[in-house]
Each structure stands twice: as C-alpha cells, then as structure tokens.
C-alpha cells in the first residue's frame, strides 16, 4: 500500500467514526427534532397553544400587539437549578407590569403543581407567572431546544434551558439559550432586555 492510499484510508475511517459518533449523540428514535438550532433574536417566535395549571388554553399570539412576553423553558420539576431559577423569577416583574410571563416544561400538571408548591413554601409568595405543560415537547422542539441527551429515555423531550423576551409584534427581541444547564440568566439580564423594548 502506498503512503497516499494509506493516508486516504486513515482519513476515510476517521470521517466514518466521527459521523457515527455524531449520530449516536443526536439521533432520536421516536421523532426527529423539528428544528435543529434554537430560535434566535430577530425571528418570529413560533406560536403555540398550551394548557395552564387551571386547564385554560394559553396562546402565545394572544398577546400580539398588546404586551411583550417573557418565555422560559426549564428542564423539569426534578432539576434544582431550575427550581432556584423559577423561585428567583417571582421577583422579575413589577406589580401590574404589562408583560406576560410563561414558563414551559415537559412535566405534567401534577408534577408542575408540586414544584409550584415547593417554590411557594419559602414564604416569599406563590408562583406569579403562568406555568404550562408541553408533555409531547412539540413546542420545545419547535423552538429548537430539544436536548438530544435524553432521546428515547423516560425524560425524552427535556429542553436546554432558555429564556426569550418576545416583543409586542411577536419577534424575539432577546434570547439566552444554555447548553450548560448549570447556567441561567439573572433577573437583571432579563430586566435589561425588557427595558430595552421601551
């Protein structure tokens, strides 16, 4: 075997190995994610309708032309980082501030209510924003937040944590998507994004 053909073989084998490894991390046996990359600033926020904990249908576009929306995606009731973030977010908005605030996870109503009770147990007030269930993770997929690490597992559909600020016209004005689930934007960061809309 000549040096050139040997080198070509090595490159080919390495390429195949890398492609296989990538597939192993990204494949989804049940359903391919609808969107590979997260929705980013300047894009129109994908519309959705989800049920809140009282059984009401909540539609994102219902706020169009009326108020901006803060949209939070969190990993689940079992995630301590998320619980602390959601606790802190109770103080994000001022009283009667005309901003809609929605938080989404794959958790069912029972688990979400348990988390809300745990958050409120510190005596600093109940969850004062709307919690929504996306058990089929369709909205999480539509926002490109699907975490492939949980594909085919019991918790398939868990999102990478994200916070979006969506302006009155339904466009994403600010976004923070974290692949490191230990990192969350501070309330001050989100507050600054809201202030910049005015």
């Amino acid at each position: 075997m000549s040096f050139r053909s040997f080198a070509a073989s090595v490159l080919l084998i390495t390429g195949i190995a890398q492609a296989g490894a990538a597939r192993g991390v990204r494949s989804n046996k049940i359903d391919e994610p609808k969107r590979a990359e997260p929705v980013s600033v300047g894009e129109g926020a994908p519309d959705f309708t989800l049920e809140d904990m009282q059984g009401n249908q909540v539609t994102l576009s219902a706020a169009k032309g009326k108020a901006p929306t803060v949209l939070v995606f969190y990993r689940g009731y079992w995630c301590p980082f998320c619980a602390h973030q959601l606790s802190e977010l109770r103080s994000l908005l001022k009283a009667n501030e005309p901003v809609r605030f929605l938080a989404i996870s794959v958790d069912d109503h029972e688990k979400t209510k348990q988390l809300m009770e745990k958050i409120a147990a510190d005596g600093n007030g109940p969850v004062n924003y709307t919690m929504l269930s996306d058990p089929g993770h369709k909205i999480i997929d539509a926002y490109g937040l699907h975490d492939p690490a949980y594909d085919g597992k019991r918790f398939d559909g868990i999102p990478n944590p994200a916070v979006y600020v969506i302006d009155k016209n339904g466009s994403v004005a600010w976004a923070k998507v974290e692949s490191d689930y230990k990192v969350r934007p501070s309330n001050a960061d989100i507050r600054a994004a809201l202030e910049s809309l005015n």
Partner: protein, 165 residues
C-alpha cells in the same frame, strides 16, 4: 518508518479528539449505574414469624442519592414502597441516616446517601397465612446526582421470594 509513525500518531490524536466531546456530553447527562437489590434475612419463614428485609443501594464513587429526608425542598427524596401478598404485613420502613453535604448546584445543605445505603423493613407473616411462595416486591424512587448536577428521578423495582412453611 518515519511516515508510518507520524500517521499512527495523527490517527491517535484524531480519534481522541473525535471521541472526547461525546464522552464529556455523556458524563454530564448520563445518570450513574446504581445497583439495587432486595435481600431477605432468610429465604424461608414459618407462619406467625417475621423476617428482616434489606433494600441495598450501591452508589458509585463521585455520585450520591438524595436521602429520604434531603433537607432541601427541591431535592427529590428516596422513597420505598413494598408490595406483599394479601395477609402478610410490612413493618415500618427505616431509612439510613443522611450524610450532610454542600454541593455547587444547591444553595442548601443536602442530606444524601453515598457508597452504600441500606433501607430496612420487617415482613410479618400471620399464623393463618397459607403455605407457599410469596413474592416480596420493593419499588424504589430516587434521584441521583454528581457533585455538580442532578439527574432525572428513577424508579427501580426489585423482588425476592419468601417460602412460607
């Protein structure tokens, strides 16, 4: 010879770089392999007697499982449910004492189990219980964490057979 050596080194480096990112990703998201087994003090018991049972949880080094009382309201506690055939009674479930630790992912101190945790309970067989084999089923709910991150909760079911004579 020199070219071959150079190629082998390059190949090793390329493979190392292609494998490392997926390995790191797995380390962050894959829960530890935790062994759970149900051990009875005896495999045979007479009617009207009791037998001690232990649910043994073996936790790899570098990981922990939240204790039954993990102190923090956001940490999901370890819980065991025991299912036995009709007539047989299960005594109170005794959880081991928690080890208190502080981790980067929580502002609170946490009560955890490390290495090996043994949850104990007693199975009481009434005098009028029919002879035969009884299946003892224990369902364990737990949440494991590393020193940096917690994983989604898990459910495990283990069984043991008890011969009633």
């Amino acid at each position: 010879m020199y070219r071959t050596l150079l190629l082998l080194i390059s190949l090793t480096l390329l493979l190392a770089f292609s494998i490392a990112p997926s390995g790191a990703a797995r380390a962050q998201t894959t829960p530890p392999k935790i062994n759970v087994k149900l051990v009875l003090a005896g495999q045979r018991v007479q009617k009207g007697r009791a037998v001690n049972a232990s649910l043994i949880i073996e936790i790899p080094s570098g990981y922990h499982v939240n204790a039954h009382d993990p102190f923090s309201r956001f940490a999901l506690p370890t819980k065991v449910d025991v299912e036995v055939p009709g007539g047989i009674k299960v005594g109170p479930i005794t959880y081991p004492k928690a080890i208190v630790r502080k981790f980067s992912f929580s502002g609170d101190r946490l009560g955890v189990y490390e290495n090996r945790a043994v949850i104990r309970f007693i199975i009481m067989v009434p005098p009028n219980q029919p002879r035969g084999n009884a299946e003892i089923k224990a369902r364990l709910n737990y949440q494991s964490c590393s020193n940096e991150v917690c994983f989604p909760p898990m459910k495990r079911e283990v069984t043991a057979s008890l011969a009633i004579s």
